[in-house]
Amino acid sequence: MIAAVEAYIRQLGAATSRGWERFWFVPTSAGSLGIIRILAGASTLWAIVAYQPDLADWLDPEGMLPLELVRDLFPVQWSPLDTLPPTAWAPFHLATILLLALLTIGVGGRVVAALALVGTLSFFHRLPLASGRFEAVAAMLLAYLVLGDASQNCAVGRWYRNRRAPANPTTGMTQEQASNCSALNTISQRLIQLHTALIHLMMGTAQLAAMGGVWYSGEGMWLVASGGNSLLDMTGLEAYPRLVALLSHSVTLYLLTFPLGTWHTLWRPLLLAWGLLVWTMVAVFSGDWLFAVAMIAGSLAQVSSVADRPVE
């Protein structure tokens, strides 16, 4: 009996170890990291550029968010902007914009990705009272993109070098792409997958717990559209409460289904298509299109193309 238990434990340990290795450490190409890099980089670039008109108003010691006030409220956070003199704010802002632009087009690899992350987080940490859900998702994506070399795919320099190189008919990759397969790409992609699934789950459960039961009653998307920032005039929806309820329930159902269903290869394309519709709808209704783009980018980590497969 004891021998059987020991054998079972050994078998369980070995299987867990193999599963862990398969999940995290099988070398892959950048795959969908390239698309994620473009979406996350471009949306963050836009968010950082949008600080420009209010930069002095936000950062000045006599501005709306003086450093003393922010650090009273968020004592653990720190930003390089805390120590920079006011004359350095504009160059720092410009440098962050340039780094994000380079990241978006896929130049500079991990070094540019890391510097863009530092620059971006500097603004998010200095201005937490002006940061919201987009900033939370963007920080996650940029942090994980530093691990993998996302500039191997959908990148200007890489495209230029690869355009004449013949692709392997089996793997779909050129020789250079094949040589760039790395476990770090896998880790980066897996972390984005897990974190995005977690965000979906937390959003879904938050909707179930939302005050007033507005997502149970089907009123959720109406309230989203009533925030005053929707991209289209949604007032006409008031006449179609059943349609609003259908849309609201589809959002909640998607958020709760994605974290589990997306790991199943047959469900994945369906959930990704559903997610594209849901996030587009959220962007139009709420006007928070940056958040929607960031969530689409995170969801795309589940896309496993032929190019993601390792070299045999």
């Binding site: 880790i187 039961g213 390792p310």
Partner: protein, 219 residues
Amino acid sequence: VPSSTPSSDSTSTWQTVATVLLVVHLFCLAIAIASNVGGRASPAARRLRSVPGVIAYLQMLGMDLAYEFPLATAAPNDAPHHLELRQPAASQTPLAELPAPQMGSLRRQRYQQLAAYVVDFDETFAENPDLRTQLPLAIAQAWIKRLELPPDRYTLVCRQKPLPRLETSAPPQASRDESQPQTPVTVELVWSPAEGRYQGLVRQEAGLTSRAVEDSSQP
């Protein structure tokens, strides 16, 4: 994805280190979620936040949150907020509004969020006058400076737009009451020539009570 068995010792060492780092990261992430979940945070996770380095690591990466973004609720604080700068002696029309109507969606959302924090802190720090008025005073002073207004008496009002509810969805009456807009937060600003800055009076319910508070610059 086909499996690949590592053969060399260096690969094995690298994977062991990476495994430890991944486990630590995922553990920190679990602490962030479990300790920040609104209303039902795990006491164990709250205790684990005191482990040295955990909070610093999570906040450095911007991951110290529970990602509870319901997109919309019937909570009063979820309604869009805006700020008005008024001159008490002048007409009812505000001198300026934030977010301004011509602002793009992202700037608009940022100022709406800032205004929501004014209301949030007014409730959270109701017993701490310094913290309660620090943010509205900073906003008002910067705003007055930006508009190049002369030293005078001004009023900063933080209002929220009531969310229109769908009649046919008929939520329970209690929920409807909860969604009613809150009383605007009103801060009266008085220029102090001696201090060279404004002092604030928070007026919680317009015309009924007012509470003198110290200048936010005082420690």
